[in-house]
């Protein structure tokens, strides 16, 4: 699994996303992070391990508190990747729009001369 795969996997869980959102306001201890959730401390610790392995958070050495901190660059890498897809489609659609206009204009032009010839024959 590449690092981006591990990051996606880590982000696929709503509790982990909520933990990251909390850490965006500043570092926090495991207890502080567990508080808003109706989940046990071991469950939160498991989530934190997944986030740490994915490189999304780092944990401090202080044995008592082990404060968790967000690694913004990793999250940005994933966000950029997702944004690339959106931009890919928006720009492809821009080109498709132009191509469809050309296609239809070409088709209209190829019809017109026949109509003009037909018209002049009438006179």
């Amino acid at each position: 699994m590449t690092s981006l795969d591990a990051t996606f996997s880590a982000l696929a869980d709503p509790t982990r996303r909520a933990i990251l959102a909390r850490l965006a306001s500043g570092e926090a201890s495991v207890n502080e992070l567990a508080r808003p959730f109706d989940v046990s401390l071991p469950a939160i610790s498991k989530h934190l391990k997944v986030l740490e392995r994915a490189g999304l958070i780092v944990r401090g050495r202080d044995a008592q508190r082990r404060p968790c901190r967000l690694v913004a660059s990793q999250l940005k890498a994933v966000s950029d990747w997702a944004e690339q897809y959106r931009r890919f489609w928006e720009e492809s659609f821009d080109r498709l729009d132009e191509y469809l206009r050309e296609l239809q204009a070409t088709e209209a032009k190829s019809r017109a001369p026949k109509e003009r010839a037909h018209g002049s024959r009438k006179r």
């Binding site: 795969d5 996997s9 897809y85 492809s92």
Partner: protein, 163 residues
């Protein structure tokens, strides 16, 4: 702001709660001023695809397409700096002129297959094209992780009860 971005990212990864499943994944939509048949046709052949597939200033130097349900395709995009991006996949379902579902593996990317569903809807003679993308392997990983954790808890409960 980060909370909103994370929520959008979660949706993109297909990890949205079931109630909002229809909008799961990345969604891009656009109305084109052309009949459905014409728009659909532009997705089916290399000579069309080469004219619009990819971002601005990109070209499609290679495009092999077996456009049928179960058919495979392989394309190479080339960026303005010459970098090439090969990708391949399978057409999982084709319903002309309303739906194309295909997988894609970007050969230089993370390796997880991306699933794309394209729908074509008539809107008063114009055509609305909607593209939805998800990453099925990540949805499975998310489900698997939840299952794995539940199994671990059950084993632990049995272990404690047996003592």
């Amino acid at each position: 702001m980060l909370g909103q971005n994370l929520e959008k990212l979660g949706e993109y990864l297909g990890a949205t709660p079931a109630a909002r499943a229809p909008e799961r994944g990345m969604v891009v939509t656009r109305v084109f001023d052309a009949p459905r048949q014409v728009v659909f046709e532009a997705w089916t052949r290399p000579e069309h695809l080469a004219r619009w597939w990819g971002p601005k200033a990109f070209t499609l130097p290679s495009c092999d397409v077996d456009f049928r349900t179960g058919g495979a395709y392989r394309m190479v995009m080339r960026g303005p700096d010459g970098t090439e991006y090969p990708f391949h996949g399978v057409y999982r379902e084709i319903v002309p002129p309303s739906r194309i579902e295909f997988s894609a593996v970007i050969e230089s990317g993370p390796g997880a297959a991306v699933l794309t569903v394209v729908t074509f809807d008539d809107e008063g003679g114009k055509t609305r094209v909607t593209v939805r993308q998800t990453i099925p392997a990540l949805e499975e990983a998310a489900r698997g992780q939840r299952q794995g954790w539940t199994e671990s808890l059950e084993k632990l409960a049995e272990h404690v009860a047996a003592r």
